[in-house]
Structures are given as structure tokens and as C-alpha cells.
Amino acid sequence: MYQFIYDLTGNVIISTLVTAVFPLVNVLIVALIGVYLERKISAWIQDRVGPNRVGPFGLFQTVADFIKMMQKEDATPTDIDGKLYNLAPVLVFTGCFAAYAAIPFSSQLIGSEVEVGIFFILAVSSFTVAGILMAGWSSNNKYALLGAMRSAAQIVSYEIPTALVVLSMVMLMGTLSLTKISEMQTAYFWNWNILGGATLGLSKFLLIPFMIVGFIIIFISTLAEVNRTPFDIPEAESELVAGYFTEYCGMKWAMFMLAEYGNMFAVSAIVSILFFGGYHSPFGYLGNSLGINWLIPYEQAFWFVAKGWFFILVQMWLRWTLPRLRVDQLMSLCWKYLIPYAVVNLVVIGIISLL
């Protein structure tokens, strides 16, 4: 992306700045749209109207909320562990925001082209656990503590199936770079990994069922990693008030919220890169057929964002349809079902890729 901006502007400072600010802007935009969509979609699912007062169709509701959050008094409870309490939201937000640096929005639009992109994202998003534990511990609140303990157990457990599925994909593709994984699924949708990848042959057709299993496992476990219903146990509103961020308010609370929506998009992006062709269009490019080369990156960005939002919509749909699992059921789902299936899947994909 640095090169792309540099070619456009010819200015080192501007291109460095734009590249650096790009992930932050992305997180904010995603959260802004995400919160609005969540409200509107939950309203449609629940036979309500949803926000319709601020701006046309209530479009500026999130902006109004954001302004409200910033104006709020930063009330802190007594006897907190001040340093940890203040650091926790920042850490949670950083984990989410750093992941955006390595997500390829198109072949050009990528904050930093890390060779080990998928590994980097898995690593930095684990920051979140530390932040959540800190928030829960420092708040001096039993609900927050319970929420944090649940959350740590949940996120650490669900990282295993996620990592196993990612591992099987990495094994198949032979690279950790997200751009390269996307490039391997180029052109049309039958080249996507969910349909067996780009290489034609027996292995392509053998792979399809295992790819679908892998996709389901990673979708479920990422859902749990970002604490969305039916796995929103750490913040289980009706049991633990608000879980680990019970005692937070104002901007600190908003940072947890931003991180949640940011993470939703980040995991959707990973799923779409690994299985659904990343930024590639399913039907080829308008830019190619018209002979306008500069159009292609924009088209790619459009497809990438569209795929990401599609999975976010599925997450929202699930949230407003399903009840919440209990903490032991959540754990047994992970350890008794997802991890064994993920391991078997890994082995089978390994064998097929040897063929």
C-alpha cells in the first residue's frame, strides 16, 4: 500500500502517514457501520423499527452515540488497580487494531505486507485475552472477575481449533502470507478453497467436503473468539451484568465495543481469505474486460469488504436468533467436538495434498 500511495502522491511523508493511519480508520469505520447495522438488523429480526431519529434512517445514530461516549464522565470505582484498569481497554483495542495492519483489502490496499500475515494476526489477536483478564481483575468487581475468567478460558480454548484449521490451510497452500493465499484463489469462484482450490485434478474434488468441515469449524470457533452469541458467555448480560467491562464507562467502555466490532470484521476477513478467495471477485473483473487496469484494486477492495460484511451479517443473524450456551457446554463443544474434528481434518487434508 505504501508503494501504491507513493506512486499516487510522490510524497514520502503523506504515504507513510496514510499507511499508518489506514488500520485505525478501518476499525473506526467498521465499528461505526457495525453498530448501526446491528441495531437495524436486530430491529428487523425482532419486528421493530430500530433507530430512525438521528439523520435519514437513523444513519447517524452511532455518531451521536460516539459523541455521547466522549462527553461522559470517566467514573471509576474505588479500590481498583489503576494502572491495569486504564491499560486494559487500550490493550484489547490494540489487539484488534494491529490485526488490521496485515489484512489485505486488495492486492494494493494492505497496511503492511507481512510474509507471515496469518501468524501475525493470530498472535496479535491473542492480546485480547490479556486485556480482558486485566480488565476483570483490576475492576474490583466479582462479576467482572467471573466474566474475565470465563473469557480467558473460552478464548484460549477456541484458539486451538482456529489454529488447527489455519494450519491445515497453510499446509495446503504452502505459505503464511495472506496476499499469496488470496492470489492462489484468483479468477473465478470455482478456484476458491472452499471448492477445493485452483489446481484441477482428483484432489480438488476430494478436498471439497473437508474444506466445508474446516470452514464450519473455523467459523464457529472465531465466533467464540470474538465473544458473540451463542458464545457471548464472558459478557452474558443477564447473568454477569456486563461481564469483564461491568465497571467501565465512557470512552474506555467504547474501546471495548470498538474492539468487538473490529474483531468481528477481522475474523470474517480471515475466513474469507482462507476459504472464499480473499479479495478476488467471484466472476472476474470489469477492469480486465474493459482494459482499465487501475480499476482492478478498487474492485478487489469492494469484493473483500462485501465478503467480510456478509459474514458479519451471518454473525448478527445468529446472535439475534439463538440463546446462549452455558460455560461448561461451551467448553465441551470445543474440546469434545471441534478439536477432534479439526485434528482429523488436518490429517486428511495432509494426506490428500500428498496425492
Partner: protein
């Protein structure tokens, strides 16, 4: 090195999203495991029983609304029945029919809140709003009838405060046919949802003998498998004229008397209430609803106890009259209060999340618990 662990005391309430008002539960927990539950009551105590002694008989009626505020019609009715029995008043047929219809509508509305909040506690927010959407139809019928949506003051001693609205029959019929079809939506969305069953089946099992020993009533008792319903077993008013079934917990998804059974009994009871309304709505006789209201309520000396089947169970009024215009003593047997006592038995050995599910399935209203 040995690790020392401690049990933690968690104060759930009085400000908590799932304690359905101002109940405070003192949980003794070991990690997530609940060792002991101690409910603390009294945050909503309004001295209803003492107040009643200072008022004339008909002035007590609005106060009864505020006991079980989700089923105010039933509270009015129970009190009116008690005073009528004391004075030997026979109310007109028209009044009886209207009372049955509004009480059954109220039972549906009350169960809708109970089921919805039980679902919302478990994390399913959408069924909650669907149920409230349907409840809105009932509330608007009540609003047409007596001007209030929650605290009706509708059933008076010897009659009703207002006659029904001209559109009443039409609207009730519309609602019955609408809701008969919509109740299936609830079954599809929640009752047979795999996660919901996982969360409620085999949780908070209330054995029949424990239920009887604790004096539980209503869906909490019927969920344990005994078809005890005052509308049939000690019929008051004109309930002996209607044909309806008494749903009981059968342990379809787990053991008999678990949270799912108590939930399911309520769903099926709503259907039976619709059946009763269907049978009654076409037979409301003509007449004056206020003809039997006494000019001056001054019952003879004596005591009376009446009980009716409220949505939450057996609602009893015990009244002592000393021959004055004020009652000498009014005692309410509140079903929520009695049912709540079983909570400690049910929660032991479950997880924190189950306490919420169990509390929701018992369905308490704090206005009635604390009075």
C-alpha cells in the same frame, strides 16, 4: 505446595438484570458452582396488608392490582370473590363471563412475560420481543375495556367498573385466531431450540414430593407432573362449564419437573386459555354489570378464605371482618412468595448461569412476594 481456595459470596441483586425486580440473592459459589442460595426479600414491601385495614372494602381493590402487577385482573378477582362470599352476593351471569374472559386473557399476557423473560435470561432476546408484540394485542383490549394497560381496577366487589367496549367481542375473537397461529412461532423459535433445551432440560429438577412439601402451586407444581388446577379441582365462578385440559410436565426433554417442563406447561396453558375464551366469548349474556354492586359494603362478622388460580399459582385471600366498613385483617397467600422458597433447593450444585434459568422458570413477581 498446596493451593488454598476459598468460596466466594456473590451478591446477585437487588440491582441485577435477571432478578426480575428487586430480589437479592446471596450466592455462595465455588468458582462457577453454586453451593448455597439465600434469597433476601423485602425491598419492595409496601405494607399492603396493613394498609388494607385502614381502608373501606372497595378502596382495597386498586391496591390488589399492585400485588402481582403482571396479572392484575386475577388479583382483583380473588379479592372480589372473597368479599362477595363474605356478603353472600351472587353476581350476574354477564359479569361472570366477562370475568372469565379477562382473567384468561390476563393469564396469556402474564405467561407471555414469564416465557419471554425466561428466554431473555437465557440469552434469546428475539422471542422476548415477539411475545411482547403479541401481548400488546391483549393490553389494547384491556385499554379499550377499562382505560388501563397494567393496573386495571376492573373487577369490583359485586360487578365490574365498566361494561365491555362494543368492539370487545370482535377484538377478542381476532386475537384468539391470530394467537392460535402465532404460538407455533414460539415453539419453532424457542421451545424446541437445541440450545434452549440444553440450557433448561435436567436443570433445576423439582421432584413432586418436594414441590408439595414446599406448597408450590401453579406451573411450578404442574411442571412436576401433577394436574392440580383450582379452576378444575376447586371450581370458582363458572369454570365448571368449560372444557379444558390441564397441561403437566411429562419430562419430554429430560427429567420431570425440570426448567423445560415448567416452561412448556406455560406454553400449553396459553393454548388452553385460548380454548376457554373461545367457549365463553359467544355466550356473554346481556345485562347490567353493576346491578349487584352493593351501595355500602359492610359484611357481617366472620372470616373467609377464597383461592383462585392465578397465572403464578394459587392466590388466596383471607379476610377477617368485624362487621365494620373496613376489613379487620387481610392476608394474601401469594403464589410467587411460596414458589420462591423452593429456589434454594433447586439451585444447589448447579452453575451460576443455571440460577438465572431456574429463577426465570419459577416466574416470580416481586410486587407479590414482598406485598
Amino acid at each position: 505446595m498446596s493451593l488454598k481456595t476459598e468460596t466466594m459470596v456473590l451478591n446477585m441483586g437487588p440491582q441485577h438484570p435477571s432478578t426480575h425486580g428487586v430480589l437479592r440473592l446471596e450466592l455462595k459459589i465455588d468458582g462457577e458452582l453454586v453451593l448455597d442460595v439465600k434469597p433476601h426479600l423485602g425491598y419492595l414491601h409496601r405494607c399492603f396488608e396493613k394498609h388494607a385495614e385502614a381502608m373501606q372494602y372497595n378502596q382495597v381493590v386498586p391496591y390488589t392490582d399492585r400485588l402481582d402487577y403482571l396479572a392484575a385482573m386475577g388479583n382483583n378477582w380473588g379479592y372480589a370473590l372473597a368479599v362477595e362470599k363474605l356478603m353472600g352476593i351472587q353476581v350476574p351471569e354477564r359479569v361472570e363471563y366477562i370475568r372469565v374472559i379477562v382473567a384468561e386473557l390476563q393469564r396469556i399476557a402474564s405467561h407471555q412475560v414469564a416465557l419471554g423473560s425466561n428466554a431473555a435470561d437465557i440469552g434469546a432476546f428475539t422471542p422476548f420481543l415477539y411475545l411482547f408484540r403479541d401481548r400488546e394485542h391483549i393490553l389494547s383490549i384491556f385499554e379499550d375495556t377499562c382505560g388501563a394497560r397494567m393496573l386495571y381496577n376492573y373487577i369490583w366487589v359485586g360487578g365490574l367498573s365498566h361494561d365491555i367496549h362494543p368492539d370487545f367481542v370482535k377484538k377478542v375473537k381476532e386475537f384468539v385466531s391470530y394467537y392460535k397461529a402465532t404460538i407455533i412461532e414460539l415453539d419453532n423459535l424457542l421451545s424446541y431450540n437445541k440450545i434452549f433445551i440444553e440450557r433448561t432440560a435436567n436443570i433445576g429438577v423439582l421432584p413432586l414430593d418436594t414441590a408439595i412439601n414446599f406448597g408450590a402451586s401453579g406451573p411450578a407444581l404442574r411442571g412436576s407432573g401433577i394436574p392440580f388446577d383450582l379452576r378444575r379441582d376447586d371450581p370458582y365462578s363458572i369454570y365448571d362449564r368449560f372444557d379444558f385440559e390441564i397441561p403437566v410436565g411429562k419430562g419430554l426433554q429430560g427429567q420431570v419437573g425440570d426448567c423445560w417442563d415448567r416452561y412448556y406447561v406455560r406454553v400449553r396453558e396459553m393454548e388452553q386459555s385460548l380454548r376457554i375464551i373461545e367457549q365463553a366469548i359467544d355466550h356473554i349474556p346481556e345485562g347490567d354489570v353493576q346491578s349487584a354492586i352493593p351501595k355500602r359494603i359492610k359484611p357481617p362478622k366472620g372470616t373467609v378464605y377464597t383461592r383462585i388460580e392465578n397465572p403464578r399459582g394459587e392466590l388466596g385471600y383471607f379476610i377477617i371482618s368485624d362487621g365494620n366498613t373496613n376489613p379487620f385483617r387481610v392476608k394474601v397467600r401469594a403464589p410467587s412468595f411460596v414458589n420462591l422458597e423452593v429456589l434454594g433447593e433447586l439451585c444447589k450444585g448447579h452453575l451460576v448461569a443455571d440460577v438465572i434459568a431456574i429463577l426465570g422458570s419459577i416466574d416470580i413477581v416481586l410486587g407479590e412476594v414482598d406485598r
